[in-house]
Symmetry: C2
Subunit: 344 residues, 2 copies
């Protein structure tokens, strides 16, 4: 095992002090060119590497940030993290991943661990279960940037990057209306969560704006799973009058919806136009590609990281509180593209 080379080792070799070595390596102007060159040469020769841990202890900056998500094996979160990483890597930051599975205890635990590890910032998609704001306040009190993405909580001095779920719901519904659908049902998620409530509200508003009746019976709450979508479909096809379109808050539910509709002999998009939400990879790989609302996760990650960098560069006096709301993009695919000749 080769011993770690420190600035003291270099200093000893050159008969100077560690302070001089440190200054030379940091391009301090008070060091003569001769000495600087000697040091740089010797450092290279000895294969010296700066010990970031020692630096972190001295400076208080670890150049690590923590990202807290429910789980990383979900395309959406993996892509947000990719965006964060892509943006921060050139600035020398490392990204530490924490998973919570949306358990409140796990969220508190992870925050605690990240604070002990002295991260320079924490990015978080906060669960609905997390009511312990005191834990979050510990972050603020330490003056460590906390930034919410995707799912947020209102807190003074805390920035957030979210998408406009209302607009997403509105756009999806408007698209269905404009392509001729009159009786549009909605697969809603858990409406105690603001993201699902907002999508639902957008749906409702679009109906009103275009003078279509809103009927609570056309709204079916369902989980974000294929099976749940299939079950919901069985309720859907019992409706009278039968809808001619569905806006689903979840792509997975939309997949289940399509499976079950086909099994029951319905044609898509001719009998039912369908728009999902999230632009999960599966939507574009299906034989019948599914229209969906893209949440721009890459941009979300990038933006989150950018706000963090701004915050780090600003003086400590100035508290930045940015509320960025990204515009979702409607992606029209086959599941909502009726051939004109088949239009009923």
């Amino acid at each position: 095992m080769s011993p770690r080379i420190t600035i003291y080792d270099i200093a000893r070799e050159l008969n100077i002090t560690a302070a001089t070595v440190s200054r030379a390596l940091n391009n301090n102007p008070t060091i003569s060119d001769k000495t600087r060159e000697l040091v740089l040469e010797k450092a290279k020769e000895m294969n010296y590497r700066q010990n970031k841990v020692a630096l972190a202890l001295k400076s208080g900056k670890t150049f690590n940030v923590g990202v807290i998500v429910p789980r990383i094996d979900r395309s959406f979160f993996a892509t947000v993290i990719k965006g964060i990483q892509d943006e921060l890597y050139p600035h020398g930051y490392h990204v530490i991943i924490c998973q919570t599975y949306d358990q409140k205890e796990s969220e508190i635990d992870n925050i605690d661990a990240l604070l002990n590890a002295q991260v320079d910032g924490i990015f978080m998609s906060i669960s609905n279960a997390m009511t312990e704001l005191s834990e979050l306040n510990r972050i603020i009190k330490k003056n460590i940037p906390l930034i919410f993405f995707d799912r947020k909580r209102e807190m003074p001095g805390v920035s957030s990057v979210t998408i406009n779920d209302f607009e997403g719901g509105y756009k999806a519904t408007e698209h269905l209306i404009k392509t001729g659908c009159k009786k549009i049902a909605h697969f809603a998620g858990d409406r105690t969560l603001h993201i699902y409530r907002d999508r639902f509200e957008g749906y409702k508003k679009a109906l009103l704006d275009y003078k279509l009746d809103f009927d609570e019976n056309y709204v079916i709450e369902t989980e974000s799973k294929v099976e749940a979508g299939m079950e919901a479909t069985n309720q859907l096809i019992k409706l009278n009058p039968l809808p001619d379109a569905v806006f689903s808050s979840s792509d997975f539910a939309a997949v289940g919806l399509i499976k079950e509709l086909k099994a029951n002999g319905y044609a898509i998009p001719d009998d039912f136009s369908i728009v999902g939400f999230s632009n999960e990879p599966v939507t574009q790989f299906m034989e019948l590609t599914i229209s969906s609302v893209d949440q721009t996760p890459l941009e979300m990650g990038r933006m989150t990281a950018q706000i963090f960098l701004e915050q780090m560069n600003s003086s400590n006096q100035v508290k930045i509180e940015k509320k960025v709301v990204l515009t979702p993009r409607l992606l029209v695919r086959m599941s909502s593209t009726k051939k004109v000749k088949n239009k009923k």
Copy 2:
């Protein structure tokens, strides 16, 4: 901004020294029960948290590990990371993510950065481009556990966790043979990579074992993309005699294959039985679910982490070199399940 509480702050409050506080907090038996209780109480009252950075500098252990993957927004890698994380989190380790996009420079860069950050271990899916073994040797020389997963390189003292790609290729092909296919084509990946070469060899061996002719014309090299699979399909359907099955090294290519076959009026699985590789989420969401070979990424991550923990717990003298080869699981789905009545 609340100041950080240190053991010195506690010591001052109690009129004792930091050494005593440290010992009390670490359950050192030479500390009297009275003092210990006083310290613990005061620590709680002042909301003391151990500074892991200071500890890391002293102990040389950061409790951080680095994971190097080409990109994290791929289901496979995201799931491996999840496995690593799930296994290491209970032991107090944090996972730092690095993406390389399979660029050699980026791989070297990331290794360097992780070493400077003093991680306790590095887990890596190494690209084919990475020929600079000297960089990897720097890790070994520092006595930091390096563990390859998914894609490895032979190095003394380095453990690895991979799957048996040969067996995966064999199983997939054998399954097609046993369900009555006689003329099985193969979509191969880049066969300079051992994972693709092994899958190909498994395919070949299965044909030989079951007395079927191997024909190089039935092997089409293609990228792991839907579009590439579609292009390859156009070569495939020009073959004479026409194959009755395809084993694809890539699920995405299989998706393209199915799309294009259907577009050309072929029925699946009746005209073509199809098995893919990787068990990408899309394979189970398709209306026509795709048979595939699961690489057990969760187990791969878990196993990688376990080997690391073993290595950390063993004495420094003992070098552990484990080569774990996981067994892939064949998942039979609709794309290779012919109805008996339709069997040709």
